[in-house]
């Protein structure tokens, strides 16, 4: 293995380093710099001011928006975890042939490879005033007036998030479960554990890395989202991403940059907390 020269290693890693350097590291550096720039109605220009941060952190709107975004992230995390864990558990422990595991796993995976925007739009015929749910509920006499909160509400936003991102929980948790030595479970049952004890004392602790990876995906995707909230909220709901997008559309780049830095800090803190239970390299 040591026949590979340092030069060829350098050649092999240079494409990814250059691309990520220019399109990831440099842009974040630029955001950091621009967050200290000043702006007027027409343009933005180099300066060193703290006003963008004091505007962002001194406003109640910012805190309310963050609270709202945390609320979306928390609800989405909760439901994707419940669904993801249950689906992964079914696939890992109740399906005994590899062939069926692959087939059922692919059935869960295929929607992930199609357009997120189409998947959001596809809820409209279900949730609208004259949508499937309202018609159904009215015809069985449960409600008299159509429910208004189904579409363009917190409900539809979280529903769309869960729909889009449940798979991000299923895959890593399934991966963790497949590594659990089956004899541990037999030992627990032989030792007298009931199903629930086996789940909470054996399976869940051994799935922690998978749960953490899935949670990182779901939480970061929701925290930075600006399309789902905009589309499913009908433009009436706020999130950190939507707030930034509004500033960007008004060309208030330094203000948006300051919000971006704050968002990045918040996301990194959340990720580092979740990373405590997982050694990423061991998971691959």
């Amino acid at each position: 293995m040591d026949r590979q020269s340092p030069l060829s290693t350098l050649l092999q890693i240079s494409p990814i380093s250059l691309i990520l350097g220019f399109f990831l590291v440099l842009p974040i550096g630029t955001i950091l710099i621009v967050s200290f720039w000043d702006y007027n109605d027409f343009s933005f220009f180099p300066d060193f001011v703290w006003t963008n941060y004091s505007d962002a952190l001194g406003s109640n709107v910012t805190y309310k928006t963050y609270l709202n975004t945390f609320w979306y992230a928390g609800l989405t995390w909760f439901f994707t975890f419940l669904i993801g864990f249950t689906v992964a558990y079914f696939l890992a422990f109740h399906i005994h042939t590899t062939r069926w595991q692959i087939v059922l796993f692919l059935i869960c995976t295929i929607p992930f490879w199609t357009s997120n925007i189409i998947r959001m739009i596809s809820w409209i015929p279900f949730l609208g005033r004259n949508g499937v749910f309202n018609t159904m509920l009215q015809s069985i006499g449960l409600i008299d007036e159509p429910l208004e909160f189904l579409l363009f509400s917190d409900f539809s936003i979280v529903l769309a998030f869960v729909h889009l991102y449940a798979l991000f929980m299923v895959v890593p948790i399934f991966n963790s479960m497949m590594r659990i030595d089956r004899s541990l479970i037999e030992a627990a049952i032989d030792g007298g554990a009931n199903g629930w004890q086996m789940l909470t004392n054996v399976v869940i602790p051994l799935c922690k890395p998978g749960i953490a990876i899935g949670s990182i995906f779901v939480v970061t995707l929701v925290m930075g989202d600006y399309i789902t909230v905009r589309l499913m909220g009908g433009g009436q709901r706020a999130s950190v991403g939507v707030m930034m997008w509004n500033e960007i559309s008004l060309l208030l780049y330094p203000a948006a940059a300051a919000h971006a830095v704050v968002l990045l800090a918040v996301v990194l803190i959340m990720v580092s907390l979740m990373m405590r239970v997982v050694d990423l390299k061991k998971e691959l």
Binding site: R3, Q4, P6, T9, L11, Q12, I13, P15, I16, S17, I19, L20, F23, L24, L26, P27, I28, T30, I31, V34, T86, V87, F90, L91, H94, L104, I107, I110, W113, T114, S115, N116, I117, I118, R119, I121, S122, P125, F126, G128, N130, G131, A166, I216, T220, G224, D225, Y226, I227, G241, M244, I248, Y253, A256, A260, L264, V267, L280, K281, L284
Partner: protein, 279 residues
Amino acid sequence: MHKKRPASFYWLAIFFGLFVLFLYGPISAIVILSFQGPNGGLTFPMNGFSIHWFFALFGEQLVGDFETSFLRSLQLGLIVMALTVVISLVTGLAFRKKFFGSNLLFYTTVASLIVPSILVSLGIGLIFNIMGWEVSWTTSGLGAHLTWTLPFGFLIMIAVFNRFDKSYEEAARDLGASNWQTIRHVVLPIIGPSLIGVALFGFTLSYDEFARTLMTSGVKNTLPLEIFGMTTNVTTPTLYALGTLTTFFSLFMILTAMGVLFYLRRRQESHGSDAGKGV
């Protein structure tokens, strides 16, 4: 072998069935509703049955510029796919041994996945703005897409090489194969199926990308941007017709990838080794 299944199996199977319904139900509704009659609306009931709304997409009064944006997304997807496969592969090869800065590069690549997309979009937009360059889907858009597809391809390759049995390579070297011959005739055939997977990720993630494209593709829209624009001003089932078409195109690409994968597996199994064939 036929043990009686526990009751929990049936409850979980029902849950799984509902989950599949949850995944596929809404999109099926879109497909059905795109065949609304000419007077039909955005919701059920069906008001007749026609392909009127598909014609409306291609007809005289074009709703949006979806044909060119589709071709643009297709080209971009194929370019991103090719780059993702090649770059993930060579990076994966390098990561089979430790080198100076390997941890830094590993975590930077993972960060590319975790950084909120709106930051990538904004940051690239800012650089191009400050430098006075024009953003376009072929430059800034391409770069933005790679920040999203490369981490997936990279992590897949790392996982693949972690499971790779190095004795195959050592055997090839012992028999006098050069570095290139080892890769071409031993490594690539073994990891071939995984590369198809990377290609599928590269294409579909780019083809459907929105969040990182918004501020980086310039005046010429990719298909997802075009569809997003339509959601705010199109109130007829044309929107569903377009959704149906692009979803079927995605499915076509997924099934093609799986078909190729299946074919490769079969070939590997039936051919076994090509030892002694003088390659």
